[in-house]
Protein backbone atom coordinates (compact mmCIF):
# COMPACT_ATOMS: atom_id res chain seq x y z
CA UNK A 1 0.00 0.00 0.00
CA UNK A 2 1.24 3.43 -0.89
CA UNK A 3 0.94 6.88 0.64
CA UNK A 4 -2.35 8.42 1.72
CA UNK A 5 -5.43 6.63 3.01
CA UNK A 6 -8.62 7.79 1.28
CA UNK A 7 -11.14 5.60 3.03
CA UNK A 8 -11.21 4.33 6.56
CA UNK A 9 -14.02 2.51 8.32
CA UNK A 10 -14.12 1.48 11.92
CA UNK A 11 -16.50 -1.06 13.48
CA UNK A 12 -19.04 -0.26 10.86
CA UNK A 13 -22.45 -1.88 11.34
CA UNK A 14 -25.47 -1.67 9.08
CA UNK A 15 -28.68 -3.10 10.41
CA UNK A 16 -31.88 -3.21 8.37
CA UNK A 17 -35.06 -3.43 10.32
CA UNK A 18 -37.40 -6.04 8.86
CA UNK A 19 -40.40 -5.37 11.03
CA UNK A 20 -40.11 -7.94 13.80
CA UNK A 21 -36.51 -8.97 13.15
CA UNK A 22 -33.38 -7.08 12.32
CA UNK A 23 -30.97 -7.97 9.56
CA UNK A 24 -27.31 -7.28 10.14
CA UNK A 25 -26.04 -6.54 6.63
CA UNK A 26 -22.62 -5.30 7.82
CA UNK A 27 -20.95 -6.51 10.97
CA UNK A 28 -18.04 -4.57 12.47
CA UNK A 29 -16.32 -3.69 9.23
CA UNK A 30 -12.92 -2.12 9.81
CA UNK A 31 -10.79 -1.42 6.77
CA UNK A 32 -8.86 1.23 4.93
CA UNK A 33 -8.25 1.93 1.26
CA UNK A 34 -5.35 4.01 0.01
CA UNK A 35 -5.01 6.25 -3.01
CA UNK A 36 -4.55 4.38 -6.27
CA UNK A 37 -5.83 1.00 -5.14
CA UNK A 38 -7.77 -1.32 -7.44
CA UNK A 39 -9.71 -3.22 -4.86
CA UNK A 40 -12.84 -5.32 -4.77
CA UNK A 41 -15.40 -6.52 -2.23
CA UNK A 42 -16.11 -10.07 -3.23
CA UNK A 43 -18.43 -12.67 -1.81
CA UNK A 44 -21.74 -14.35 -2.41
CA UNK A 45 -24.95 -12.54 -3.09
CA UNK A 46 -26.37 -10.98 0.05
CA UNK A 47 -23.01 -10.77 1.81
CA UNK A 48 -23.19 -6.96 2.11
CA UNK A 49 -21.00 -5.77 -0.78
CA UNK A 50 -23.46 -3.24 -2.16
CA UNK A 51 -24.34 -1.98 1.29
CA UNK A 52 -20.69 -1.30 2.07
CA UNK A 53 -20.08 0.35 -1.28
CA UNK A 54 -23.14 2.58 -0.82
CA UNK A 55 -21.94 3.76 2.57
CA UNK A 56 -18.51 4.58 1.22
CA UNK A 57 -20.24 6.44 -1.61
CA UNK A 58 -22.30 8.44 0.94
CA UNK A 59 -25.49 7.06 -0.62
CA UNK A 60 -26.30 5.45 2.72
CA UNK A 61 -25.25 5.86 6.34
CA UNK A 62 -23.98 3.26 8.81
CA UNK A 63 -26.13 2.21 11.75
CA UNK A 64 -23.11 2.46 14.02
CA UNK A 65 -19.37 2.80 13.71
CA UNK A 66 -17.72 5.29 11.43
CA UNK A 67 -16.82 5.72 7.80
CA UNK A 68 -14.36 8.38 6.80
CA UNK A 69 -14.06 9.18 3.11
CA UNK A 70 -11.62 11.83 1.86
CA UNK A 71 -11.45 13.19 5.38
CA UNK A 72 -15.24 13.51 5.78
CA UNK A 73 -17.32 11.53 8.25
CA UNK A 74 -20.10 9.99 6.15
CA UNK A 75 -22.47 9.60 9.10
CA UNK A 76 -22.41 13.29 9.90
CA UNK A 77 -22.74 14.81 6.42
CA UNK A 78 -25.82 16.83 5.52
CA UNK A 79 -27.73 15.91 2.35
CA UNK A 80 -26.17 18.79 0.57
CA UNK A 81 -22.66 17.93 1.71
CA UNK A 82 -22.98 14.31 0.68
CA UNK A 83 -24.40 15.35 -2.70
CA UNK A 84 -21.38 17.64 -3.14
CA UNK A 85 -18.99 14.87 -2.16
CA UNK A 86 -20.51 12.52 -4.74
CA UNK A 87 -20.65 15.19 -7.39
CA UNK A 88 -17.01 16.21 -7.14
CA UNK A 89 -15.05 13.34 -5.71
CA UNK A 90 -16.79 10.01 -6.30
CA UNK A 91 -17.72 8.37 -9.58
CA UNK A 92 -20.35 5.60 -9.70
CA UNK A 93 -20.70 2.71 -12.09
CA UNK A 94 -23.77 0.49 -11.83
CA UNK A 95 -24.75 -2.95 -12.95
CA UNK A 96 -27.57 -1.52 -15.08
CA UNK A 97 -25.51 1.41 -16.48
CA UNK A 98 -28.12 3.96 -15.33
CA UNK A 99 -27.64 6.40 -18.20
CA UNK A 100 -30.16 9.21 -18.63
CA UNK A 101 -32.17 8.00 -21.63
CA UNK A 102 -33.16 11.46 -22.87
CA UNK A 103 -29.60 12.70 -23.08
CA UNK A 104 -27.01 11.96 -25.75
CA UNK A 105 -23.79 10.19 -24.88
CA UNK A 106 -22.03 13.53 -24.76
CA UNK A 107 -24.67 15.08 -22.49
CA UNK A 108 -24.67 12.08 -20.17
CA UNK A 109 -20.96 12.43 -19.64
CA UNK A 110 -21.23 16.20 -19.32
CA UNK A 111 -23.99 16.01 -16.69
CA UNK A 112 -21.82 15.86 -13.51
CA UNK A 113 -19.83 18.84 -14.76
CA UNK A 114 -23.02 20.82 -15.40
CA UNK A 115 -24.05 20.09 -11.83
CA UNK A 116 -20.71 21.49 -10.72
CA UNK A 117 -21.43 24.64 -12.70
CA UNK A 118 -18.22 24.28 -14.67
CA UNK A 119 -17.72 26.68 -17.56
CA UNK A 120 -18.33 25.34 -21.03
CA UNK A 121 -14.90 25.29 -22.67
CA UNK A 122 -13.45 23.30 -19.77
CA UNK A 123 -16.44 20.97 -19.86
CA UNK A 124 -15.99 20.39 -23.54
CA UNK A 125 -12.38 19.46 -23.05
CA UNK A 126 -13.00 17.08 -20.15
CA UNK A 127 -15.92 15.34 -21.87
CA UNK A 128 -13.83 14.95 -25.01
CA UNK A 129 -10.97 13.43 -23.01
CA UNK A 130 -13.25 11.03 -21.14
CA UNK A 131 -14.93 9.81 -24.32
CA UNK A 132 -11.50 9.38 -25.86
CA UNK A 133 -10.44 7.28 -22.89
CA UNK A 134 -13.31 4.84 -23.28
CA UNK A 135 -13.06 4.85 -27.07
CA UNK A 136 -16.48 6.37 -27.78
CA UNK A 137 -15.59 9.78 -29.17
CA UNK A 138 -17.39 8.88 -32.39
CA UNK A 139 -20.64 8.06 -30.58
CA UNK A 140 -20.97 11.40 -28.82
CA UNK A 141 -24.31 12.19 -30.45
CA UNK A 142 -25.90 8.77 -29.97
CA UNK A 143 -28.65 8.10 -27.49
CA UNK A 144 -28.26 5.38 -24.84
CA UNK A 145 -30.96 3.33 -26.56
CA UNK A 146 -28.75 3.10 -29.65
CA UNK A 147 -25.81 1.62 -27.75
CA UNK A 148 -24.88 -1.95 -26.94
CA UNK A 149 -24.43 -3.00 -23.31
CA UNK A 150 -20.68 -2.75 -23.53
CA UNK A 151 -20.86 0.71 -25.07
CA UNK A 152 -23.37 1.83 -22.45
CA UNK A 153 -21.11 0.73 -19.64
CA UNK A 154 -18.19 2.55 -21.25
CA UNK A 155 -20.30 5.73 -21.36
CA UNK A 156 -21.01 5.17 -17.66
CA UNK A 157 -17.27 4.85 -17.03
CA UNK A 158 -16.65 8.08 -18.93
CA UNK A 159 -19.36 9.77 -16.85
CA UNK A 160 -17.74 8.46 -13.65
CA UNK A 161 -14.22 9.63 -14.49
CA UNK A 162 -14.96 12.86 -16.38
CA UNK A 163 -14.75 14.97 -13.23
CA UNK A 164 -11.43 13.30 -12.37
CA UNK A 165 -12.65 11.95 -9.06
CA UNK A 166 -10.42 10.48 -6.38
CA UNK A 167 -12.61 7.38 -6.11
CA UNK A 168 -14.69 5.33 -8.54
CA UNK A 169 -17.17 2.84 -7.07
CA UNK A 170 -18.35 0.08 -9.39
CA UNK A 171 -21.16 -2.23 -8.28
CA UNK A 172 -21.26 -5.44 -10.36
CA UNK A 173 -20.20 -3.53 -13.49
CA UNK A 174 -20.04 -6.67 -15.65
CA UNK A 175 -23.21 -8.41 -14.54
CA UNK A 176 -25.07 -7.39 -17.69
CA UNK A 177 -22.17 -7.85 -20.11
CA UNK A 178 -20.80 -10.75 -22.10
CA UNK A 179 -17.26 -12.00 -21.52
CA UNK A 180 -15.61 -9.92 -24.24
CA UNK A 181 -17.23 -6.71 -23.08
CA UNK A 182 -16.50 -7.53 -19.46
CA UNK A 183 -12.80 -7.83 -20.19
CA UNK A 184 -12.91 -4.73 -22.35
CA UNK A 185 -14.29 -2.51 -19.64
CA UNK A 186 -12.09 -4.05 -16.94
CA UNK A 187 -9.04 -3.32 -19.06
CA UNK A 188 -10.26 0.22 -19.58
CA UNK A 189 -10.62 0.74 -15.84
CA UNK A 190 -7.31 -0.93 -15.03
CA UNK A 191 -5.66 1.40 -17.53
CA UNK A 192 -7.32 4.45 -15.96
CA UNK A 193 -6.11 3.24 -12.58
CA UNK A 194 -2.59 2.99 -13.94
CA UNK A 195 -2.57 6.30 -15.81
CA UNK A 196 -4.61 8.58 -13.59
CA UNK A 197 -4.03 6.87 -10.24
CA UNK A 198 -7.78 6.90 -9.69
CA UNK A 199 -8.82 4.57 -6.87
CA UNK A 200 -11.29 1.91 -7.99
CA UNK A 201 -13.48 -0.10 -5.62
CA UNK A 202 -15.62 -2.92 -6.97
CA UNK A 203 -18.41 -4.97 -5.54
CA UNK A 204 -18.60 -8.18 -7.48
CA UNK A 205 -18.89 -11.92 -7.49
CA UNK A 206 -17.76 -12.18 -11.13
CA UNK A 207 -14.52 -14.14 -11.55
CA UNK A 208 -13.66 -12.09 -14.65
CA UNK A 209 -13.62 -8.95 -12.52
CA UNK A 210 -11.85 -10.62 -9.63
CA UNK A 211 -9.05 -11.56 -12.00
CA UNK A 212 -8.14 -7.89 -12.45
CA UNK A 213 -8.18 -6.91 -8.78
CA UNK A 214 -4.97 -6.01 -6.97
CA UNK A 215 -6.65 -6.49 -3.61
CA UNK A 216 -9.57 -8.69 -2.72
CA UNK A 217 -11.69 -8.20 0.41
CA UNK A 218 -13.98 -11.15 0.90
CA UNK A 219 -17.25 -10.57 2.72
CA UNK A 220 -19.30 -13.34 4.26
CA UNK A 221 -22.51 -12.53 6.07
CA UNK A 222 -21.50 -8.92 6.48
CA UNK A 223 -18.11 -9.68 7.97
CA UNK A 224 -14.67 -9.42 6.44
CA UNK A 225 -13.57 -13.02 6.00
CA UNK A 226 -10.36 -12.36 4.11
CA UNK A 227 -8.35 -9.35 2.96
CA UNK A 228 -5.62 -10.30 0.51
CA UNK A 229 -3.35 -8.48 -1.85
CA UNK A 230 -2.98 -10.41 -5.09
CA UNK A 231 -0.32 -10.56 -7.76
CA UNK A 232 -1.39 -8.53 -10.76
CA UNK A 233 -2.66 -10.90 -13.42
CA UNK A 234 -3.76 -10.31 -16.97
CA UNK A 235 -6.94 -12.15 -17.58
CA UNK A 236 -8.50 -13.08 -20.95
Amino acid sequence: MENSVLIRTHDLDKIYSLGLTDLKALDRITLSVARGEFVGFVGPSGSGKTTLLNIIGSLDVPTSGSAEVLGRRIESLSHKESAGLRNRHIGFIFQTFNLLPVYTVYENVEFPLLLQGMESSRRKQLVGDALEWVGLADRADSRPAQLSGGQSQRVAIARAIVKQPEIVLADEPTANLDAANSHHIMKTMAQLNEDLKTTFIFATHDEKVIGYLKRKITLVDGKIAKDETVEKTTAG
Binding site: L59, D60, H79, K80, A83, R86, N98, L100, P112
Partner: protein
Protein backbone atom coordinates in the same frame (compact mmCIF):
# COMPACT_ATOMS: atom_id res chain seq x y z
CA UNK B 1 -30.83 26.15 -16.80
CA UNK B 2 -29.83 22.55 -16.20
CA UNK B 3 -33.04 21.51 -14.49
CA UNK B 4 -35.52 23.16 -16.89
CA UNK B 5 -33.63 21.71 -19.83
CA UNK B 6 -33.58 18.21 -18.39
CA UNK B 7 -37.23 18.55 -17.40
CA UNK B 8 -38.23 19.55 -20.91
CA UNK B 9 -36.24 16.69 -22.42
CA UNK B 10 -37.84 14.26 -20.02
CA UNK B 11 -41.41 15.20 -20.71
CA UNK B 12 -40.92 15.49 -24.46
CA UNK B 13 -39.41 12.04 -24.54
CA UNK B 14 -42.45 10.73 -22.67
CA UNK B 15 -44.22 11.31 -25.98
CA UNK B 16 -47.90 10.50 -26.25
CA UNK B 17 -48.53 10.60 -22.52
CA UNK B 18 -47.21 14.13 -22.29
CA UNK B 19 -49.14 15.34 -25.30
CA UNK B 20 -52.38 13.85 -24.04
CA UNK B 21 -52.04 15.72 -20.77
CA UNK B 22 -50.97 18.86 -22.57
CA UNK B 23 -53.90 18.61 -24.95
CA UNK B 24 -56.40 18.07 -22.14
CA UNK B 25 -54.93 21.01 -20.30
CA UNK B 26 -54.98 23.20 -23.40
CA UNK B 27 -58.67 22.38 -23.92
CA UNK B 28 -59.55 23.58 -20.48
CA UNK B 29 -57.32 26.58 -21.11
CA UNK B 30 -59.18 27.59 -24.26
CA UNK B 31 -62.52 26.71 -22.68
CA UNK B 32 -61.86 28.95 -19.69
CA UNK B 33 -60.85 31.88 -21.86
CA UNK B 34 -63.65 31.25 -24.30
CA UNK B 35 -66.39 30.99 -21.68
CA UNK B 36 -65.06 33.87 -19.66
CA UNK B 37 -64.84 35.87 -22.88
CA UNK B 38 -68.45 35.02 -23.64
CA UNK B 39 -69.51 36.30 -20.25
CA UNK B 40 -67.37 39.41 -20.56
CA UNK B 41 -68.84 40.03 -24.00
CA UNK B 42 -72.29 39.35 -22.65
CA UNK B 43 -71.72 41.75 -19.81
CA UNK B 44 -70.52 44.49 -22.17
CA UNK B 45 -73.41 43.99 -24.55
CA UNK B 46 -76.04 43.79 -21.87
CA UNK B 47 -74.71 46.88 -20.18
CA UNK B 48 -74.55 48.82 -23.41
CA UNK B 49 -78.08 47.88 -24.42
CA UNK B 50 -79.44 48.62 -20.98
CA UNK B 51 -77.69 51.96 -20.78
CA UNK B 52 -78.99 52.92 -24.21
CA UNK B 53 -82.59 51.88 -23.63
CA UNK B 54 -83.07 52.51 -19.96
CA UNK B 55 -80.38 54.01 -17.78
CA UNK B 56 -78.72 56.63 -20.01
CA UNK B 57 -76.03 58.51 -18.14
CA UNK B 58 -77.85 57.98 -14.86
CA UNK B 59 -81.28 58.85 -13.53
CA UNK B 60 -82.80 61.38 -11.17
CA UNK B 61 -85.40 59.66 -9.04
CA UNK B 62 -88.25 61.48 -7.40
CA UNK B 63 -87.58 60.64 -3.76
CA UNK B 64 -90.59 58.32 -3.31
CA UNK B 65 -89.68 56.21 -6.33
CA UNK B 66 -88.61 52.64 -5.68
CA UNK B 67 -88.54 50.38 -8.75
CA UNK B 68 -88.92 47.31 -6.54
CA UNK B 69 -92.07 48.57 -4.87
CA UNK B 70 -95.00 49.20 -7.24
CA UNK B 71 -96.95 50.79 -4.39
CA UNK B 72 -94.35 53.52 -4.14
CA UNK B 73 -95.42 54.76 -7.57
CA UNK B 74 -98.57 56.27 -6.13
CA UNK B 75 -96.57 59.11 -4.62
CA UNK B 76 -93.62 59.02 -6.95
CA UNK B 77 -94.29 62.11 -9.01
CA UNK B 78 -93.26 65.70 -8.62
CA UNK B 79 -92.83 68.80 -10.76
CA UNK B 80 -89.66 68.63 -12.80
CA UNK B 81 -87.13 70.90 -11.09
CA UNK B 82 -85.98 73.94 -13.14
CA UNK B 83 -82.39 72.71 -13.58
CA UNK B 84 -83.67 69.41 -14.99
CA UNK B 85 -86.14 71.24 -17.21
CA UNK B 86 -83.24 73.22 -18.52
CA UNK B 87 -81.28 70.04 -19.24
CA UNK B 88 -84.33 68.55 -20.94
CA UNK B 89 -84.81 71.60 -23.12
CA UNK B 90 -81.22 71.30 -24.28
CA UNK B 91 -81.70 67.61 -25.14
CA UNK B 92 -79.53 66.45 -22.25
CA UNK B 93 -82.28 64.69 -20.33
CA UNK B 94 -85.66 63.00 -20.75
CA UNK B 95 -88.32 63.07 -18.03
CA UNK B 96 -90.50 60.01 -17.66
CA UNK B 97 -93.75 59.84 -15.75
CA UNK B 98 -94.62 56.37 -14.56
CA UNK B 99 -98.12 55.42 -13.42
CA UNK B 100 -99.72 52.12 -12.63
CA UNK B 101 -102.65 51.24 -14.82
CA UNK B 102 -104.90 48.38 -15.79
CA UNK B 103 -105.74 47.03 -19.21
CA UNK B 104 -108.33 44.50 -20.31
CA UNK B 105 -106.97 42.75 -23.36
CA UNK B 106 -109.31 39.99 -24.48
CA UNK B 107 -111.46 40.75 -21.49
CA UNK B 108 -108.79 39.87 -18.98
CA UNK B 109 -107.55 42.12 -16.26
CA UNK B 110 -103.90 43.00 -16.40
CA UNK B 111 -101.81 45.34 -14.32
CA UNK B 112 -99.26 47.38 -16.24
CA UNK B 113 -97.12 50.48 -16.09
CA UNK B 114 -98.00 53.47 -18.14
CA UNK B 115 -94.92 55.44 -19.04
CA UNK B 116 -95.05 58.95 -20.42
CA UNK B 117 -92.13 59.94 -22.59
CA UNK B 118 -91.47 62.89 -24.88
CA UNK B 119 -91.90 61.61 -28.47
CA UNK B 120 -88.99 63.82 -29.56
CA UNK B 121 -86.51 62.71 -26.93
CA UNK B 122 -83.12 61.47 -28.07
CA UNK B 123 -81.83 60.30 -24.70
CA UNK B 124 -83.02 56.70 -24.80
CA UNK B 125 -83.14 54.23 -27.66
CA UNK B 126 -86.86 53.59 -27.12
CA UNK B 127 -88.39 54.54 -30.53
CA UNK B 128 -90.62 57.25 -29.08
CA UNK B 129 -91.01 59.04 -32.43
CA UNK B 130 -93.73 56.50 -33.19
CA UNK B 131 -95.82 58.41 -30.66
CA UNK B 132 -95.81 61.57 -32.81
CA UNK B 133 -97.99 60.35 -35.60
CA UNK B 134 -101.57 59.89 -34.50
CA UNK B 135 -103.59 63.04 -33.82
CA UNK B 136 -107.09 61.95 -32.94
CA UNK B 137 -106.28 58.95 -30.86
CA UNK B 138 -103.93 58.25 -27.99
CA UNK B 139 -100.91 56.48 -29.46
CA UNK B 140 -99.23 53.72 -27.49
CA UNK B 141 -95.86 52.10 -27.98
CA UNK B 142 -95.14 48.57 -26.76
CA UNK B 143 -92.32 46.10 -26.97
CA UNK B 144 -92.63 42.77 -28.69
CA UNK B 145 -92.73 40.79 -25.44
CA UNK B 146 -95.62 42.89 -24.18
CA UNK B 147 -97.33 42.52 -27.56
CA UNK B 148 -97.03 38.78 -27.38
CA UNK B 149 -98.08 38.33 -23.78
CA UNK B 150 -101.05 40.69 -24.05
CA UNK B 151 -102.02 39.52 -27.52
CA UNK B 152 -101.70 43.02 -28.96
CA UNK B 153 -100.48 44.13 -32.36
CA UNK B 154 -99.99 47.36 -34.24
CA UNK B 155 -103.30 49.13 -34.79
CA UNK B 156 -105.09 47.38 -31.93
CA UNK B 157 -107.05 49.46 -29.48
CA UNK B 158 -106.82 48.69 -25.83
CA UNK B 159 -108.67 50.26 -22.94
CA UNK B 160 -106.42 51.59 -20.24
CA UNK B 161 -107.62 52.61 -16.83
CA UNK B 162 -105.73 54.66 -14.25
CA UNK B 163 -106.22 57.00 -11.34
CA UNK B 164 -105.49 60.68 -11.54
CA UNK B 165 -103.68 62.75 -8.97
CA UNK B 166 -106.81 62.82 -6.79
CA UNK B 167 -107.26 59.06 -6.94
CA UNK B 168 -110.18 59.28 -9.34
CA UNK B 169 -110.47 56.51 -11.92
CA UNK B 170 -110.27 57.47 -15.54
CA UNK B 171 -110.09 55.32 -18.66
CA UNK B 172 -109.17 55.87 -22.32
CA UNK B 173 -108.64 53.84 -25.42
CA UNK B 174 -105.01 53.63 -26.51
CA UNK B 175 -104.17 52.70 -30.11
CA UNK B 176 -101.00 50.68 -30.54
CA UNK B 177 -98.94 52.86 -32.89
CA UNK B 178 -95.90 50.62 -33.00
CA UNK B 179 -94.47 47.38 -31.64
CA UNK B 180 -90.72 47.57 -31.19
CA UNK B 181 -88.09 44.97 -30.61
CA UNK B 182 -85.70 45.47 -27.75
CA UNK B 183 -83.28 43.39 -25.81
CA UNK B 184 -84.04 45.22 -22.62
CA UNK B 185 -86.99 43.61 -20.91
CA UNK B 186 -87.40 46.48 -18.47
CA UNK B 187 -88.63 48.78 -21.23
CA UNK B 188 -90.88 46.09 -22.68
CA UNK B 189 -92.59 43.75 -20.21
CA UNK B 190 -95.96 44.86 -18.84
CA UNK B 191 -95.83 48.47 -19.96
CA UNK B 192 -97.18 50.89 -22.52
CA UNK B 193 -95.38 54.06 -23.55
CA UNK B 194 -97.54 57.07 -24.39
CA UNK B 195 -96.69 60.75 -25.00
CA UNK B 196 -95.57 62.42 -21.79
CA UNK B 197 -97.76 65.52 -22.09
CA UNK B 198 -100.87 63.45 -22.56
CA UNK B 199 -100.20 61.25 -19.55
CA UNK B 200 -99.49 64.40 -17.54
CA UNK B 201 -102.78 65.87 -18.67
CA UNK B 202 -104.84 62.73 -18.03
CA UNK B 203 -103.48 62.37 -14.53
CA UNK B 204 -103.45 66.11 -13.79
CA UNK B 205 -99.78 65.94 -13.10
CA UNK B 206 -98.86 68.75 -15.46
CA UNK B 207 -95.13 69.15 -15.85
CA UNK B 208 -94.45 66.32 -13.44
CA UNK B 209 -92.27 63.23 -13.74
CA UNK B 210 -91.21 60.18 -11.78
CA UNK B 211 -87.69 59.97 -13.09
CA UNK B 212 -85.51 62.12 -15.29
CA UNK B 213 -83.02 60.19 -17.39
CA UNK B 214 -79.76 61.93 -18.11
CA UNK B 215 -78.26 61.56 -21.56
CA UNK B 216 -75.17 59.40 -21.64
CA UNK B 217 -71.96 61.39 -21.09
CA UNK B 218 -73.86 64.45 -19.83
CA UNK B 219 -72.55 65.56 -16.45
CA UNK B 220 -75.12 65.46 -13.65
CA UNK B 221 -76.12 68.66 -11.83
CA UNK B 222 -76.34 68.76 -8.05
CA UNK B 223 -79.43 66.95 -6.75
CA UNK B 224 -82.48 69.20 -6.83
CA UNK B 225 -84.49 69.08 -3.57
CA UNK B 226 -86.74 66.03 -3.49
CA UNK B 227 -84.78 64.27 -6.24
CA UNK B 228 -81.87 61.93 -6.00
CA UNK B 229 -79.31 61.13 -8.69
CA UNK B 230 -78.51 57.46 -9.30
CA UNK B 231 -75.42 56.94 -11.38
CA UNK B 232 -75.04 54.12 -13.86
CA UNK B 233 -72.82 52.15 -11.46
CA UNK B 234 -75.71 52.03 -9.02
CA UNK B 235 -78.29 51.28 -11.66
CA UNK B 236 -76.20 48.50 -13.23
CA UNK B 237 -75.39 46.86 -9.94
CA UNK B 238 -78.11 44.23 -10.03
CA UNK B 239 -77.46 43.47 -13.65
CA UNK B 240 -73.76 43.00 -13.04
CA UNK B 241 -74.32 40.66 -10.14
CA UNK B 242 -76.79 38.70 -12.23
CA UNK B 243 -74.26 38.29 -15.05
CA UNK B 244 -71.63 37.41 -12.51
CA UNK B 245 -73.85 34.72 -11.08
CA UNK B 246 -74.46 33.30 -14.52
CA UNK B 247 -70.73 33.34 -15.18
CA UNK B 248 -70.03 31.46 -11.97
CA UNK B 249 -72.62 28.90 -13.03
CA UNK B 250 -70.92 28.63 -16.40
CA UNK B 251 -67.51 28.28 -14.83
CA UNK B 252 -68.48 25.06 -13.11
CA UNK B 253 -68.03 23.36 -16.43
CA UNK B 254 -64.55 24.69 -17.09
CA UNK B 255 -63.47 24.04 -13.53
CA UNK B 256 -64.47 20.46 -14.15
CA UNK B 257 -62.34 20.43 -17.30
CA UNK B 258 -59.44 21.93 -15.40
CA UNK B 259 -59.94 19.41 -12.64
CA UNK B 260 -59.77 16.54 -15.12
CA UNK B 261 -56.59 17.91 -16.67
CA UNK B 262 -55.09 18.30 -13.20
CA UNK B 263 -56.04 14.76 -12.35
CA UNK B 264 -54.21 13.58 -15.47
CA UNK B 265 -51.11 15.51 -14.47
CA UNK B 266 -51.25 14.36 -10.87
CA UNK B 267 -51.58 10.80 -12.06
CA UNK B 268 -48.67 11.20 -14.47
CA UNK B 269 -46.57 12.60 -11.66
CA UNK B 270 -47.36 9.87 -9.16
CA UNK B 271 -46.71 7.22 -11.78
CA UNK B 272 -43.49 8.75 -13.03
CA UNK B 273 -42.11 9.21 -9.52
CA UNK B 274 -42.87 5.57 -8.88
CA UNK B 275 -41.41 4.30 -12.13
CA UNK B 276 -38.37 6.53 -12.11
CA UNK B 277 -37.11 5.97 -8.57
CA UNK B 278 -33.95 4.36 -9.93
CA UNK B 279 -33.35 7.38 -12.11
CA UNK B 280 -33.77 9.58 -9.04
CA UNK B 281 -31.18 7.44 -7.27
CA UNK B 282 -28.82 7.88 -10.21
CA UNK B 283 -29.31 11.64 -10.25
CA UNK B 284 -28.50 11.76 -6.55
CA UNK B 285 -25.45 9.52 -7.06
CA UNK B 286 -24.28 11.98 -9.69
CA UNK B 287 -24.51 14.73 -7.13
CA UNK B 288 -28.00 16.19 -7.36
CA UNK B 289 -29.50 17.17 -4.04
CA UNK B 290 -32.97 16.01 -3.13
CA UNK B 291 -34.17 19.57 -3.50
CA UNK B 292 -32.90 19.59 -7.06
CA UNK B 293 -34.61 16.29 -7.80
CA UNK B 294 -37.86 17.69 -6.40
CA UNK B 295 -37.36 20.80 -8.51
CA UNK B 296 -36.82 18.64 -11.58
CA UNK B 297 -39.99 16.64 -11.13
CA UNK B 298 -42.05 19.69 -10.21
CA UNK B 299 -40.68 21.46 -13.24
CA UNK B 300 -41.62 18.54 -15.45
CA UNK B 301 -45.21 18.78 -14.28
CA UNK B 302 -45.28 22.55 -14.46
CA UNK B 303 -43.98 22.49 -18.01
CA UNK B 304 -47.20 20.75 -18.99
CA UNK B 305 -48.88 24.05 -18.17
CA UNK B 306 -46.44 26.02 -20.29
CA UNK B 307 -46.74 23.61 -23.21
CA UNK B 308 -50.51 23.69 -22.84
CA UNK B 309 -50.42 27.49 -23.08
CA UNK B 310 -48.37 27.25 -26.26
CA UNK B 311 -50.57 24.57 -27.79
CA UNK B 312 -53.68 26.48 -26.74
CA UNK B 313 -52.27 29.55 -28.45
CA UNK B 314 -51.78 27.66 -31.70
CA UNK B 315 -55.39 26.64 -32.14
CA UNK B 316 -57.01 28.89 -29.55
CA UNK B 317 -56.01 32.30 -30.92
CA UNK B 318 -57.50 31.74 -34.39
CA UNK B 319 -60.56 30.08 -32.87
CA UNK B 320 -61.23 32.78 -30.32
CA UNK B 321 -60.48 35.56 -32.79
CA UNK B 322 -62.96 34.02 -35.22
CA UNK B 323 -65.61 33.75 -32.52
CA UNK B 324 -65.03 37.33 -31.40
CA UNK B 325 -65.19 38.64 -34.96
CA UNK B 326 -68.23 36.74 -36.10
CA UNK B 327 -70.25 36.48 -32.91
CA UNK B 328 -72.86 33.84 -32.23
CA UNK B 329 -76.49 33.66 -33.03
CA UNK B 330 -78.20 33.17 -29.75
CA UNK B 331 -80.90 30.61 -29.30
CA UNK B 332 -84.37 32.04 -28.55
CA UNK B 333 -84.22 30.55 -25.08
CA UNK B 334 -81.72 33.13 -23.95
CA UNK B 335 -84.62 35.50 -23.35
CA UNK B 336 -85.19 33.50 -20.20
CA UNK B 337 -81.71 34.43 -19.12
CA UNK B 338 -83.14 37.35 -17.23
CA UNK B 339 -81.33 40.13 -19.00
CA UNK B 340 -80.90 41.79 -22.31
CA UNK B 341 -78.84 40.12 -25.00
CA UNK B 342 -78.42 41.24 -28.56
CA UNK B 343 -79.32 39.04 -31.48
CA UNK B 344 -75.68 38.15 -31.73
CA UNK B 345 -73.23 37.69 -28.94
CA UNK B 346 -69.64 38.82 -29.36
CA UNK B 347 -67.18 37.34 -26.87
CA UNK B 348 -64.65 39.84 -25.52
CA UNK B 349 -61.17 38.71 -24.57
CA UNK B 350 -59.19 41.19 -22.54
CA UNK B 351 -55.41 40.86 -22.10
CA UNK B 352 -56.09 40.61 -18.36
CA UNK B 353 -58.36 37.62 -18.97
CA UNK B 354 -55.76 35.82 -21.07
CA UNK B 355 -52.85 36.65 -18.78
CA UNK B 356 -54.89 35.80 -15.68
CA UNK B 357 -55.98 32.45 -17.06
CA UNK B 358 -52.43 31.58 -18.14
CA UNK B 359 -51.17 32.40 -14.69
CA UNK B 360 -53.96 30.46 -13.03
CA UNK B 361 -53.38 27.35 -15.11
CA UNK B 362 -49.61 27.49 -14.63
CA UNK B 363 -49.85 28.00 -10.88
CA UNK B 364 -52.40 25.23 -10.41
CA UNK B 365 -50.33 22.88 -12.58
CA UNK B 366 -47.22 23.65 -10.59
CA UNK B 367 -48.94 22.97 -7.29
CA UNK B 368 -50.45 19.73 -8.55
CA UNK B 369 -47.04 18.70 -9.87
CA UNK B 370 -45.32 19.57 -6.65
CA UNK B 371 -47.61 17.64 -4.31
CA UNK B 372 -46.54 14.11 -5.29
CA UNK B 373 -42.85 15.06 -5.25
CA UNK B 374 -42.92 15.51 -1.50
CA UNK B 375 -42.54 11.76 -1.42
CA UNK B 376 -39.02 12.25 -2.74
CA UNK B 377 -38.11 14.33 0.29
CA UNK B 378 -37.55 11.28 2.47
CA UNK B 379 -36.08 9.11 -0.24
CA UNK B 380 -32.70 7.54 0.51
CA UNK B 381 -30.49 7.41 -2.56
CA UNK B 382 -29.39 3.83 -1.78
CA UNK B 383 -33.02 2.70 -1.59
CA UNK B 384 -33.90 4.55 -4.77
CA UNK B 385 -31.04 2.85 -6.62
CA UNK B 386 -32.27 -0.52 -5.41
CA UNK B 387 -35.69 0.38 -6.76
CA UNK B 388 -37.26 0.89 -3.37
CA UNK B 389 -39.48 3.83 -2.55
CA UNK B 390 -39.56 3.72 1.22
Amino acid sequence: MLIPKLALRNILSAGLRTWLSVLALSFSFVAIIFLQGVYDGLNDQVERATVEAQYGGGQYWQKAYDPYDPLSLEDAHAPIPPQLQELTAGGGAAPILIRTATIYPQGRFRSILLKGIDPDQKVLSVPSTALRSLENVIPGLIGSRMAKSAGLKKGDVVTVQWRDVHGTFDARDVTIAEVFRTNVQDVDNDQIWIPLERLQAFTRMENQATIVVLKKDVLPVTDPPGWEFKDSGFLLRDLRSLVKMKSVQGSVMYLLLLFLAMLAIFDTQVLSIWRRRKEMGTLMALGMTRTQVIELFTMEGALHGVLAALVAAIYGIPLLAYAAGRGFDLPIATDNFGFAIGEKLFPAYSPALVAGTTLLVCIVTTIVSYLPTRKIADLKPADALRGRLS
